[in-house]
Structure formats: structure tokens, C-alpha cells
């Protein structure tokens, strides 16, 4: 295996995601369906490279790599890709691979293109408490689920537009049925809310006895995101939120959730044991 640094593996992953996006775009421009196998393999390769990169980064920072905006974006993209590899194969949702490749390419590409987001790597940010690490990992993984939900919601809105406006030909014909997209959306919403709830529950076990360690802005941002998604799920299950409005809500909420990562990240108080390392000194390699 080549002796790449974590960022080099992550660049490779971004290139794979971009290749998947290009593959789908070219197919759509030619009025053809992209090869499902080629898309799956491209995303699987990107996922594998990203896993290697994040694993190296995890070793370097002595924990789950969630210590700065760069790592949060990378982890969210990784979660979305991993979910696609499961859901895409199970549900055979056409175009989901294309949209996942687009999301992952944007998240990884932007995070790599903004050096300031990775200017400082914090090690030992979770101290010696594995529960906090689990809390953070679950929370960011749920963001990956919400990312995929935003994609299926966008696909729902496109399909709804095509059917309402009676433009069903061209690349609209490659979209899944509106009912399938709705069902997948509700399942993803349920899964995302469950993961975020579990994350908050795990975090609460630690923070309730130590409220002084919790930043109010972070707490409010996290609860607001959780509450918004939970309310959307409740309304949908109660039949009070029609599918199209739910889809819009999921797209908007994911944007808000991504924006909330910044205050959540900047509000962290590193534990006493946490240290900050400039990236040049900490570029991780396979030991």
C-alpha cells in the first residue's frame, strides 16, 4: 500500500466522488442512465480511500476525527457514502448514487479546498471518555443520514415537479417513483432522528452531572436541529405534513444542520488533556 498521508488519501477519495459525479453527469447529458455498477464501484473506492484517510487521522488525533470543520465535513460525507453503499444496493434507487457522489464531492472538495478549516488539529478532544466520543460520532453520523435524506428529498421535489408540470421525459425519466422516494425519505428521517436522539441521550449522561462543561450555544444548536427533525417526523407520521412540504423541510433543515456545525465546533472547550497541533507537524502516515 502506498505511504500516503491522511490528506492524500482524502484527496483520492474526493477524486473518486468527483469521478462518480462526472460519470453521472455525462450519462445524463447523453440522455442515458449511468452504469449502476460503475457508480457503485466508484463510490465504494472513494469510501475505502476516505476510510483509510480518516483512520490515519483518527490515529493521529487519538480519537474519532471530529475535531475541526474539515473533519466534520469529511465525516459527514463518509457517513452519506457508507449509507448509500447499503441503501443504494438494497433499494436500487436510480440516481441516488449520482446525487450521493455530488454531495460527497462537494463536502470533501470544499473541506480540502479551505485550509483554514484544518489549520489546527486537536488531539484527545474527547479526553478519556469513550461515551463522549460515541456521542459525537453518532451525532455526525446522523448528519450523514440527514444529508442522504436531503438528497432523496431533492429527488422527490424534482419528480414532483416533473409530474405536476408534465415534463416526464429526458433525465426526469431516470428518477425513482414519487411514492418510493417518499417512503425512503420517511425511513431515513426516522433513522436520523433515532441516531441523533441516541447521541443526545449518551451525551446527556455525561453532561447532566457536569453542566458547566456544556456550551449553551452548542446545546441550543444541537437541540434545535434535533427538535426540528423530530417535529417534522411527528407531523409526517400524524399525516399533518404533506410529502412535498416534508421534502422542502428536509432540504432546508440539512442546510441549517450544516451551518450549525460551525457554532458547535467553535464552541468546544477542549478538555484539559486536549492539545492543538498545526497540520504540518501532524500529517498522519501509516505507522
Amino acid at each position: 500500500m502506498p505511504d500516503f498521508t491522511d490528506r492524500q488519501w482524502l484527496w483520492l477519495a474526493a477524486a473518486c466522488y468527483l469521478a462518480g459525479f462526472a460519470l453521472g453527469t455525462v450519462a445524463l447529458l447523453r440522455g442515458r442512465r449511468h452504469s449502476r455498477v460503475a457508480m457503485f464501484l466508484t463510490l465504494a473506492a472513494g469510501f475505502a480511500f476516505q476510510t483509510l484517510g480518516l483512520a490515519l487521522r483518527g490515529r493521529a488525533v487519538k480519537g474519532c476525527p471530529l475535531g475541526n470543520t474539515f473533519e466534520l465535513f469529511q465525516f459527514t460525507a463518509w457517513s452519506s457514502a457508507s449509507l448509500f453503499l447499503v441503501i443504494g444496493a438494497t433499494f436500487r434507487v436510480s440516481l441516488l448514487g449520482y446525487f450521493t457522489a455530488m454531495l460527497a464531492a462537494v463536502l470533501t472538495g470544499v473541506s480540502l479546498a479551505v485550509p483554514a478549516w484544518d489549520a489546527a488539529q486537536r488531539t484527545h478532544i474527547f479526553g478519556a471518555n469513550p461515551w463522549i466520543e460515541l456521542h459525537a460520532a453518532l451525532a455526525v453520523f446522523s448528519y450523514g443520514v440527514f444529508g442522504l435524506l436531503a438528497l432523496t428529498s431533492a429527488m422527490f421535489l424534482l419528480r414532483n415537479y416533473s409530474l405536476k408540470s408534465k415534463h416526464v421525459g429526458g433525465w426526469f425519466s431516470f428518477l425513482p417513483s414519487i411514492l418510493d422516494l417518499d417512503h425512503i425519505g420517511v425511513r431515513l428521517l426516522g433513522a436520523g432522528v433515532a441516531l441523533l436522539t441516541a447521541s443526545l441521550a449518551v451525551g446527556a449522561v455525561y453532561w447532566v452531572p457536569h453542566p458547566e462543561t456544556v456550551n449553551v450555544a452548542k446545546l441550543l444548536a444541537t437541540i434545535a436541529v434535533w427538535l426540528a427533525y423530530a417535529v417534522a417526523l411527528g407531523l409526517r407520521l400524524g399525516g399533518a405534513l404533506p410529502s412535498r412540504r416534508l421534502a422542502w423541510a428536509c432540504v432546508v433543515l440539512f442546510g441549517a444542520a450544516l451551518l450549525s456545525l460551525a457554532p458547535v465546533n467553535s464552541s468546544r472547550h477542549p478538555p484539559a488533556s486536549a492539545t492543538t497541533t498545526p497540520p504540518a507537524a501532524s500529517e498522519a502516515r501509516k505507522p
Binding site: 409530474l163 416526464v168 421525459g169
Partner: protein
């Protein structure tokens, strides 16, 4: 054409024969058996498959020129068609050209409705009939089996078969875009007219879970329900029960809308999260256009469906040129394999591989 046996095609289709002549030329299975009996082994037709559909009667086989002429004569005599009438409409091709023609036919490129799927099954049936009767030999086996592979390739890798081109099938495709699959969908047919019946049958053939017919004349609704194996319902009940159905096909002759926006809204309240698809095939329209403004309600009228069918038809035509390139290439490859063997076997390999690029020779 020399008298050495080669692979040939002889027949007439909608391209050259008017409907009145095609009616006379059509062969029933019994007549095919009679024709085979009349030809007998001494006629020189080594192998023979007969494709008889509403748009074409075509013979594919292995024979020399004299034997083909005898086949033509026997066929005209059996059908009571003047030889001159048939000669005016007939198409004849040999060697690679005949292979290319058969591939065009099986792929749906030669059909009246380009890309239609039914012809593929009919070619398969013709081959099966020839095989069962012992009329297919090594050449027909090889040609037909390869033709089936290539025809599938063409249908899959070009757009000649993409998109529905009839109103009923467009409606079914739209329903699939909404519901994904139809095995859990319930269809309500308003009116017992012919177009509604065709659409209902199209849904049935794609596995719709249940069909209910409501007509202003209950007797007609019950008759059609019997034909379709469906249920009948009093007409006045239809707007009330609307929410129980996923797809509503309107085809009544009612002077006013049968389903109002208010009725559709009430139906949607009974089925939160589940779409409702209205197909309005009636003139004047059965479904109030304002119903389309409701969330999760999709309304398509006859014009909408016809526009989509026309667009699909135009898209298929564009793909035909691409498909013809594949036909030429595959037919040439196949004839390259078969021609020399046929020649070595005592037959004259008519039509070199390159000849397949020419269109079949019209008689």
C-alpha cells in the same frame, strides 16, 4: 439469385402491402401446416419458418431460387391471391441481407409502431413452430438464436423501445412514476367506453391489484366488470369512494365534471401521504382541472397523454438510425459465420458479409 440453397426471406408487410392484401395473405396455423404439406421434401426448401402477423407474412428458410419460386407459387395458390398482386408487394432478400431484415423485424425496427415489443414474441413463436414441426435445421437454429440475442441487445442499448407510444401505456408508465409498482394500486374506471376499457386492461396487464367499474348505466358497468374480471359500483357512489382508489380513469360521456376539486380534496384527506392519479380520457372532461392544484394529486388529460406518446414516438425515430448501424454490423458478423458453412455444405453463400449493409431487396 443462384439456384444453390442459401438463407432467404420472402414475404410482404405493411410497408408494401395494403391492408386488403394483407388480409388475404395472412396465414393461420392450419394453413401453414397445409403449405408445408404441399411443398413436401422434394420442393427443395430445406428449412422454413413462417412469420404471420397482422402486419406481415414472411418466410425465412434455406432454399435455392427455384425452390423459393415454388414456395411463392404454392403460397399464392393456397391463399387465392393472384401472383401479380403478390409480386407487386413482395420483398425478397438472401444471405446477409435476409439476416439483416430478420434482425430489423425482431428488434421492432420494421414495425408500424417502431420499437414495439410484440413482434419479438411473434418471431419467437414462428421459430418455435418451425422447431416443433422439424422444419428448422442448423441454419435456422443458428440464425434465430443469434437474432434473439442481437435483438435484445438493440432494444436494451438503443432507445428504440424506450417510452410508451400508446395513450394506455403512457398512462401506465405515469402510474409507475408515481407508485413504483402497481401490485398494490386500486383502479377506478369511470365509464364503460372503449378507451377506458383499453386503459384498464393495460393496468391489469401490469399487475394492478383491483379494478372497479362505475358507469351511469349499472348494467354496462357490470358487463365490463365481467369482461375485465373486475367489480362494478353504482355511479353515484364513485365520488364518495374516491379516496379508496389510487388511480381514477375518467371516460364517461357526462356533460359535466364527475369529480370536482372538492371531491378530490375530500378523498385526499382520507389518504394522507398517498398520491392520487387521475387520468381523464373523457370529452368533455370528467375531472375538474382545479383538482390538479391539490398536493399529491396528479391529473393528466387526453391531450397530455397524447403529447407524451408523440414525444416518445419521435425519440424512438431518432434512435432508429443508431439501431440500424447495429443491425448492419451484427448481421454481417452472423453471416460471416454462417455463409461459408452453408457454401461448404453445398449451398451458395449468397450475399457476402458486406452486402448486409444494403437494405433488403424488394421483389
Amino acid at each position: 439469385m443462384s439456384d444453390a440453397p442459401t438463407f432467404f426471406m420472402l414475404g410482404a408487410s405493411h410497408h408494401s402491402a395494403p391492408l386488403a392484401l394483407r388480409e388475404k395473405l395472412a396465414l393461420t396455423p392450419e394453413k401453414i401446416a397445409t403449405l408445408r404439406g404441399r411443398l413436401g421434401p422434394a420442393a427443395g426448401v430445406r428449412e422454413l419458418a413462417v412469420l404471420s402477423t397482422c402486419n406481415r407474412v414472411e418466410f425465412y428458410g434455406v432454399a435455392g431460387a427455384t425452390a423459393v419460386a415454388r414456395l411463392e407459387g404454392e403460397f399464392c395458390a393456397l391463399q387465392g391471391v393472384a401472383a401479380a398482386d403478390f409480386a407487386g408487394a413482395r420483398r425478397h432478400a438472401a444471405g446477409g441481407d435476409a439476416v439483416a431484415h430478420l434482425l430489423s423485424v425482431a428488434a421492432g425496427l420494421d414495425s408500424q409502431l417502431v420499437g414495439e415489443n410484440e413482434i419479438f414474441g411473434q418471431v419467437k413463436d414462428a421459430y418455435a413452430e418451425a422447431s416443433a414441426g422439424g422444419a428448422a435445421g442448423p441454419v435456422l437454429h443458428r440464425v434465430f438464436q443469434k437474432i434473439f440475442q442481437h435483438a435484445k441487445h438493440i432494444r436494451t442499448h438503443t432507445g428504440v423501445a424506450e417510452g410508451a407510444v400508446s395513450v394506455a401505456n403512457v398512462a401506465v408508465e405515469l402510474a409507475l412514476n408515481i407508485f413504483g409498482q402497481l401490485d398494490a394500486t386500486r383502479v377506478l374506471l369511470l365509464g364503460a367506453g372503449e378507451i377506458g376499457e383499453k386503459t384498464a386492461k393495460a393496468f391489469q396487464s401490469r399487475g394492478a391489484a383491483g379494478i372497479t367499474v362505475a358507469s351511469r348505466t349499472l348494467g354496462r358497468a357490470m358487463d365490463l366488470a365481467d369482461t375485465l374480471g373486475a367489480l362494478a359500483m353504482p355511479f353515484w357512489l364513485a365520488p364518495v369512494k374516491l379516496g379508496d382508489f389510487d388511480i381514477v380513469v375518467g371516460s364517461t360521456a357526462a356533460p359535466e365534471a364527475v369529480v370536482t376539486r372538492a371531491a378530490a380534496a375530500a378523498a385526499m384527506r382520507r389518504r394522507p401521504g398517498r398520491p392520487l392519479f387521475f387520468i381523464d380520457l373523457a370529452l368533455p372532461r370528467d375531472i375538474e382541472p382545479a383538482a390538479a392544484e391539490l398536493e399529491n394529486v396528479f391529473l393528466y388529460n387526453l391531450d397530455d397523454l397524447a403529447k407524451i406518446a408523440d414525444a416518445n414516438r419521435a425519440a424512438r425515430e431518432v434512435e432508429v438510425a443508431r439501431a440500424r448501424v447495429v443491425v448492419t454490423e451484427k448481421a454481417a458478423q452472423l453471416w460471416k459465420q454462417i455463409g461459408p458453412r452453408l457454401a461448404a455444405d453445398g449451398g451458395g453463400a449468397q450475399g457476402a458479409a458486406g452486402e448486409a449493409s444494403h437494405p433488403p431487396v424488394a421483389g
